[in-house]
Amino acid sequence: MNRIKLILNILLLIVMLLLMDPRSFYGLEFHEWAGLIIGLFFILHKALNWSWIKKVTVCFFKSSPGRTRLNYVLDVFLLAGMVLMILSGIAIARTIDFSWMNLGGSRMFWRVMHTSSSFITLALFGIHLGLHWKWVQQRFKFKKVAS
């Protein structure tokens, strides 16, 4: 299970970085489709860690250590960032037709929202990885032993 999580997380990181510049990898069409797919990756990431989310949500105000609370709050911000990123991406999409969603607001507003939320989310991803660095180290050590 940990190996699946690790592979999924590496995939998430690679796709996220490729999405940061819409012109970097096969143009806007890839950017928009991959942007939607990364949302599914993110949901899968949350589903794989669902037991931790459930446990911390239940005892967030009671008996959670400070570090766990920090991780939880950061995860909430990450979730908000991802939602804003995808929503604003849908609002400004050019190659996929989302006009039926009728999100309103000016195109420039959503564009600024998309840029800002993606930059903040990338920074939060970096902090999230830093806080879970021990877990990453353990996974790679495990890999070394296995080989």
Partner: protein, 161 residues
């Protein structure tokens, strides 16, 4: 010990590169864009699109930047108006940035300077990973800083005990 020194040097290099990447990508400025603007400003010329956070509409001014009286198309003499129309349009009707398309947005254009300007990037066959590399370095910078901050906090707690 030597491993720790090498790790420290690599981390320092990542942080320095990340700081350069932050300014190169205008990371902080673009991260807080959304807090510096609002929906109304975004749609007005002279507002966000012109890099002016105040959202001032220069078309509403009676004088131009040089202090000359600004003439609108309707106030021009008939002969001048007809000549302008015959030469291919007023130029006044089309001065809105909104009509020029979102790709002329200066903030976005600056980032991709010299690469594919004026071309449709909706479907491209090229892979250009230079800016992705900078984003990766900035990402790594945030990670490294968090790791060392975490270590520092843990070390501080241990010393307190």
């Amino acid at each position: 010990m030597s491993k720790k020194i090498i790790n420290g040097i690599i981390s320092l290099a990542i942080v320095i590169a990340a700081l350069y990447g932050l300014s190169r990508l205008r990371f902080i400025e673009r991260s807080i864009w959304i807090f510096k603007t609002n929906n109304e400003q975004n749609t007005r010329r002279g507002g966000f699109e012109r890099g002016n956070r105040g959202g001032r509409d220069f078309r509403a001014l009676s004088q131009d930047f040089a202090g000359r009286e600004r003439l609108n198309f309707e106030s021009l003499p008939d002969s001048v108006r007809q000549r302008i129309i015959a030469e291919g349009g007023t130029g006044i009707q089309n001065d809105s940035l909104r009509n020029r398309g979102a790709r002329n947005f200066p903030g976005e254009r600056d980032e991709f300077r010299g690469r594919g300007q004026g071309h449709d990037f909706r479907r491209s066959n090229s892979v250009r990973l230079a800016s992705v590399g900078w984003f990766f370095i900035v990402f790594a910078g945030f990670t490294v800083v968090t790791i060392y901050m975490d270590m520092l906090i843990k070390w501080g707690k241990r010393r307190k005990k």
